[in-house]
Symmetry: C3
Subunit: 240 residues, 3 copies
């Protein structure tokens, strides 16, 4: 029951991020709805394909579908200033979604007696798969592959479940994991943590943090924590 | 039997549109065949994955495969002026394909007792899925998400089947739906109907219809109905 | 047993090519691992979806996963000059991978009594599917669709198996096919063979071999066979 609330928060946050990306790319309203739904449900769909769960299961989530659809519809009619305010906080809801979806994806794979590696992949794909499909459909390079620490927290969630540190029989352990993973994600946004890169050039010059050719998005936020969180709005996943 | 004719028309139109996009992107002949087949059969494939029909079913359509393959081969050897003439009418055949594929996708989902929402998704994905994969493989933003009223008519087809207004036991109802959906699509091309967009900017300036950064295609047609229909050639789907 | 060695070589070569593309795009280390694994295993995954084999089978390849993961990790810490030297030869290993994966994909489909066309598609997708997903995730137009003769050798492998010229009961026939297909691929790199294109322009001017707008990659090698093989590093597939 309580878990459903986290799923709901995450689904809304993911749908909003998909809708925002579609609007940034000047897609029409049909495109806005498609990207919203794909971001919210794409990760769970990919996970089901990968670990052999029936994809048709995703159609049993009537409430979540309706919620994602309504959230998108509300977003479309909201004044732009309200949207900006919403986006300032969306990364927190998004972190909850990432965490809830990753844990749930890991539990599915663990319940099917998969090995540690598969459980981690299931957690990660549930958490980030929707965001990747969203970016591909928007003609962007997937953000999660090139910037910010996002997927790593899904790896952590998968690892904790895969190592049996927590499991379905320990609800409090799962809540603790959810808080830890969401919190680490929120922290990494506020602090601007990044995963290092590896240059291919023989020279020893440091790799610049931002590649000017590498930013096809018009979301030029002033950066996390400075009040303009539009950049943080376009992250993630796609849950169950 | 008669329905097979519509499927055949749609399959050819979709394969042609995929082949044209590949040629526009200067892909080699292998790429031309891949994009042709993907556009013609991608939608049915995605639908099968989504609603849990065996994907292997798509391999049972030998005649359609051969037809799509031959149509692509013919297109490759045709003089460019003939291709231009063909493209002027391809949007009509394409509309028939969109309609036939969407209705068929909806009927599959309805036959599996899915809810209205799933039936609509099945109709839409059968109709537009191939075109989306085509555009992604061509490095383009999916046209159906950003311009023209295309998918909406597939939604209508799915809705009509999902609400049980028509069904497999009413062949004439299905033909009527096919004519209506194809006709509406043709009309929306001729009239240049578009789905509205939603701007993210707080200002109240109108959104321009055409975003100059947003047109990676060299298909700068003079617009539908003016004799140069190259732009209208690159729409849609991917059927059963 | 011996076949496993070819699979291993191919898996490493494909993972390396994925990792290199990710580094070229300035993706972070998470993105490097994702593109490596996707390139190595994406083709087999797509083939399983297409011909109806359980996708969960791909998780039974523990050794290959570990190998691909370790190869990527080693690549990340290698000096750039060593990477350049590795890349000079990677196209040979890659050719072995293309060949081994295509033959294996064809054998799977043949074992399920599919028709010739499906067997060819299974061979091709096992060989090139991972490379296509890699390029899409890197925001590039799939190389295999627009340049060099790569997929055609996978078609040949599929055709030979589909025509029952060779089969599981003739191990020597399969080895011969592997040598032939790998050799033809290596030859087509060294000789710079290309598949023709088809222009859409009515004029009869020849199509230039290289389209300047068509090269989003910074891998401007001096061309195959001239000592700089970085361009040849980014080809292919995705295996079993």
């Amino acid at each position: 029951m309580t878990w459903d609330v986290f799923n709901l928060i995450g689904t809304i946050a993911f749908a909003v991020s998909g809708a925002i990306v579609a609007m940034e790319e000047a897609y029409d309203l049909f495109g806005v709805f498609v990207l919203a739904m794909v971001t919210a449900f794409g990760g769970g769909l990919i996970r089901n394909v990968l670990i052999g769960l029936p994809v048709s299961h995703i159609w049993a989530q009537g409430t979540l579908f309706t919620t994602a659809f309504l959230a998108t519809a509300v977003l479309i009619i909201l004044p732009a200033t309200w949207i900006q305010r919403w986006l300032r906080w969306n990364f927190v809801f998004d972190a909850i979604g990432l965490s809830a979806f990753a844990i749930q994806g890991a539990l599915y794979a663990a319940g099917m007696r998969y090995s540690l590696g598969t459980i981690v992949v299931a957690a990660v794909m549930t958490g980030i798969g929707g965001g990747i499909v969203r970016d591909v459909l928007a003609g962007r390079k997937p953000l999660v592959l090139r910037d910010e620490i996002y997927a790593l927290w899904a790896v952590l969630a998968g690892f904790a479940v895969g190592m049996r540190w927590v499991g379905p029989s320990q609800p409090w352990g799962l809540y603790g994991l959810l808080v830890a993973v969401s919190g680490l994600r929120v922290l990494s946004v506020l602090r601007g943590w990044r995963i290092p890169r590896r240059s291919l050039r023989p020279s020893r010059t440091p790799i610049p943090d931002v590649d000017p050719d590498d930013t096809p998005t018009p979301t030029s936020g002033a950066g996390p924590g400075t009040g303009d969180a539009s950049e943080t709005s376009v992250h993630h996943g796609g849950g169950d």
